[in-house]
Symmetry: C2
């Protein structure tokens, strides 16, 4: 007979289910997407429904819905005779930078597509710690293997000019900025969110309007701590993700938390 | 007369424009979204089109398209007599954790909605460094001010049981896990991407199907470096973003990059 402690630990006592299957499309989709990004399902691998049903412990219907969803999002390609195959591997970019960890070499290139002087908004003046009434705007495309995977709008002082048209090579901000700013950029604060691509952006990125894009806002600072650049990135979510090095977790003060049983 | 150096620096020489306006909907939308998240446009602030046109240096049409897009995504609320107002501030979560930097106090709560034992996929066995054939799955909702802002699916050893139903308090993984794992979690590797919400997830999150969601895959490890948990998060992109502490930028080897002029 189960002890009271065992009973209280039974999942059904906590709003859970004891059913041992992956029954949610989200579970299956998350698992497949992560496996593709990590290379567990390698580029051009053909996915067999039977094997996935068994590996994932999910119903055929759930697997099919997940595959369709991943194909709609561009992680998989469905071809008449070939079946469902894994699309080219993601660029796994450093959260703070544009360095692709999953590839050695200068695979990513930059191309300037617009630059102009625009009014400095309150947000930009605050982030750049400047009273200037106008700033420089630069639009850059990121390409990987020639395909556009992202776009950046960078704002910085009018004194700075980026004077290349296309750039291929080591593209970390530390190296790229050395020739354009008086002091190299050494630190960055990043905020990441998601959005739906607007009409013009979707054309630039080669995706359908309202597709999910991965957005990144960054403030770059020099060695003296003074901010040098604010930038806004939008990446194709089927082509790029942001990864971190191992980070330490926040430790809270040792407060006793409120717990509410929900029986 | 301009010198050759000045001419070569003129933006029109580099595919750019000398037009001094924010003419792209993406530029205006990015700027407004960042201003809202950072509190420069505070919660419940009413947005006046005239002021935005002047502040942003954009046409009225561009501002209107950007506002409509932000309203569609839930960052703004449009009300008949009130006009366009800023929705409640984002939760700005630490990239590695669920701690909300923009708010002091236990504003975020957790609720377990499902748990079960499922087959361990190759991806999970690799990430958890285990040969176990099955693992524990736990589904948790994140609420902020009562509203669901995200959902997490966590996978870990069958030996571990999360035995709360609802939890309010310090919710960093470091503190939360102490009572559930034998060793506290101390480090995490995170990958962030975006996706479109599937049907069931959109119902759980209270958004329309295919809305963009911010996704996070994390591997948590204990003090000895052994992985303890893999989790998949999906957050409403209109309610949460991930922020980093200042990070150092990667420094490349001092290679001379290829530069291609595109005249």
């Amino acid at each position: 007979m189960a002890t009271p402690a065992e009973i209280s630990r039974h999942p059904r006592m906590h709003g859970g289910s004891a059913n041992g299957r992956h029954s949610s499309v989200r579970w299956v989709r998350d698992m497949l997407a992560a496996s593709i990004r990590a290379g567990h399902l390698p580029e051009s691998a053909q996915l067999a429904e039977d094997a996935l049903v068994s590996e994932l412990g999910a119903s055929r219907g759930t697997v099919r819905l997940a595959l369709r969803s991943l194909a709609d999002e561009g992680l998989l390609v469905r071809r008449p005779r070939l079946g469902t195959i894994v699309h080219a591997r993601h660029a796994r970019l450093e959260i703070a930078d544009t360095v692709d960890r999953s590839w050695q070499g200068p695979e990513i290139s930059l191309q300037i597509i617009d630059q102009r002087t625009v009014p400095a908004t309150a947000f930009l003046r605050s982030r750049l710690e400047t009273e200037d009434r106008s700033v420089r705007l630069l639009d850059v495309l990121f390409r990987r293997r020639g395909e556009v995977i992202g776009i950046r709008t960078a704002y910085f002082s009018r004194d700075v000019t980026y004077d290349f048209g296309e750039y291929t090579g080591p593209i970390s901000m530390a190296s790229l900025s050395a020739s354009h700013f008086r002091t190299p950029m050494t630190t960055v604060v990043t905020e990441v969110t998601a959005a739906a691509a607007d009409a013009r952006t979707s054309v630039l990125l080669g995706i359908t309007e309202n597709s999910p894009v991965l957005c990144r806002t960054q403030v770059f600072a020099g060695a003296d701590g003074h901010p040098l650049q604010v930038s806004f990135d939008q990446y194709r979510s089927d082509r790029a993700s942001f990864v971190t090095e191992p980070l330490g977790l926040a430790s809270d003060p040792p407060v006793v938390a409120d717990r509410t049983a929900t029986r």
